[in-house]
């Protein structure tokens, strides 16, 4: 778990990893230059550096990001949630950008997501087309990329999650922020870096209204346990 000044979901992620999926977790301060023995790097949600300039624009130059980029280049699993997704886009580890919500309002409510692909290290615990309930909490969540790049993402199967209604229909009405093609989560072309706008970390236990988000963490555990090939 990387903590930037302004991260506020680092403890949520820590709790899910440590107490829900029961794996050892450590915090990494953004000024650190090294981390060892990490299987997964999580960039949590929040408002790193106050979202000044653009969301994620300053955080991407934090010292630890150089290590995170190296780690990703070596094939390490990196997941960015909400603000973490924005940071990964700014850092160039994921394609595209996240714009201000179409409504110009901060969006804070449960949303439904459809699993588009389950043969990945992040989604193997789900069924394809499974509908998940997670919590959205963002002001800049409108996924944007050029039409050519969107085409590439779609053709390459890089869209992992789409906003949908309760029944799994991907409709304009179910699009909470104006994201192109209802995109809520994507993976990079080599399949080891994922960004997701809604919070699996805030929907990982039944007491929170949904435990659907835990699947993402369990997927990564299953992958390291050798239970799945993806």
């Amino acid at each position: 778990m990387v903590t930037f000044p302004g991260s506020n979901c680092d403890y949520d992620c820590y709790h899910v990893v440590q107490d829900v999926v029961r794996q050892p977790a450590v915090y990494l301060w953004h000024k650190e230059h090294h981390f060892d023995n990490c299987d997964v790097i999580i960039l949590p949600g929040g408002f790193a550096h106050g979202d000044y300039l653009r969301t994620g624009a300053i955080a991407r130059f934090s010292p630890i990001m150089r290590e995170v980029v190296d780690f990703a280049m070596r094939g390490g699993l990196v997941i960015g949630i909400c603000n973490g997704f924005q940071i990964l886009c700014e850092a160039g580890l994921l394609p595209g950008a996240l714009l201000r919500n179409r409504s110009l309002r901060f969006l804070h409510r449960p949303v439904y997501l459809r699993v588009e692909k389950n043969d990945t290290p992040f989604t193997n615990a789900y069924r394809k087309d499974q509908v998940l309930k997670m919590l959205a909490a963002h002001g800049d969540g409108c996924y944007y990329n050029t039409p050519e790049e969107i085409k590439k993402l779609e053709a390459g199967g890089q869209v992992l999650f789409r906003y949908c209604d309760r029944e799994g229909n991907v409709t304009e009405a179910a699009n909470p922020n104006g994201s192109l093609n209802n995109i809520a989560g994507i993976v990079n072309s080599s399949g080891n870096v994922m960004g997701l706008m809604p919070h699996p970390d805030r929907a990982a236990e039944a007491i929170l209204g949904s435990a659907d988000g835990a699947g993402i963490f369990f997927s990564m555990v299953a992958r390291f346990a050798g239970l799945v090939v993806a």
Partner: protein, 102 residues
């Protein structure tokens, strides 16, 4: 020759003149700009019926310690590319303040 400049509360000495520049950043055409659309609506509500499309953006004013305006402009472009603008969604132009000596 050199000159004393104020940087916040501190005085700083520099051999260079300061060049002032501006970087204008706005969303590329085709990128959703809900702020611009909202401002447009507000202007129309105020009775400015001549208002057409409105695009929002931001301006950064910078001071650079350099004796060479050309170099200053190049530097501003580099800063815009690397940090001030996101090339996926934004475009920028730079401008040096008029009346720069050197």
């Amino acid at each position: 020759m050199g000159k004393i400049f104020r940087v916040g509360k501190e005085a700083r000495f520099s051999y260079y003149e300061r060049v002032k520049g501006k970087v204008f950043v706005k969303k590329k055409a085709g990128v959703l700009d809900p702020e611009g659309a909202t401002i447009q609506k507000a202007l129309l509500n105020l009775g400015y019926r001549e208002v057409g499309a409105v695009r929002s953006g931001r301006v950064f004013e910078l001071e650079l310690e350099t004796e060479n305006p050309k170099e200053a402009e190049e530097k501003l472009r580099e800063m815009a590319r690397r940090l001030l603008a996101n090339p996926v969604i934004e475009e920028f132009r730079v401008e040096l303040e008029d009346g720069v000596k050197n």
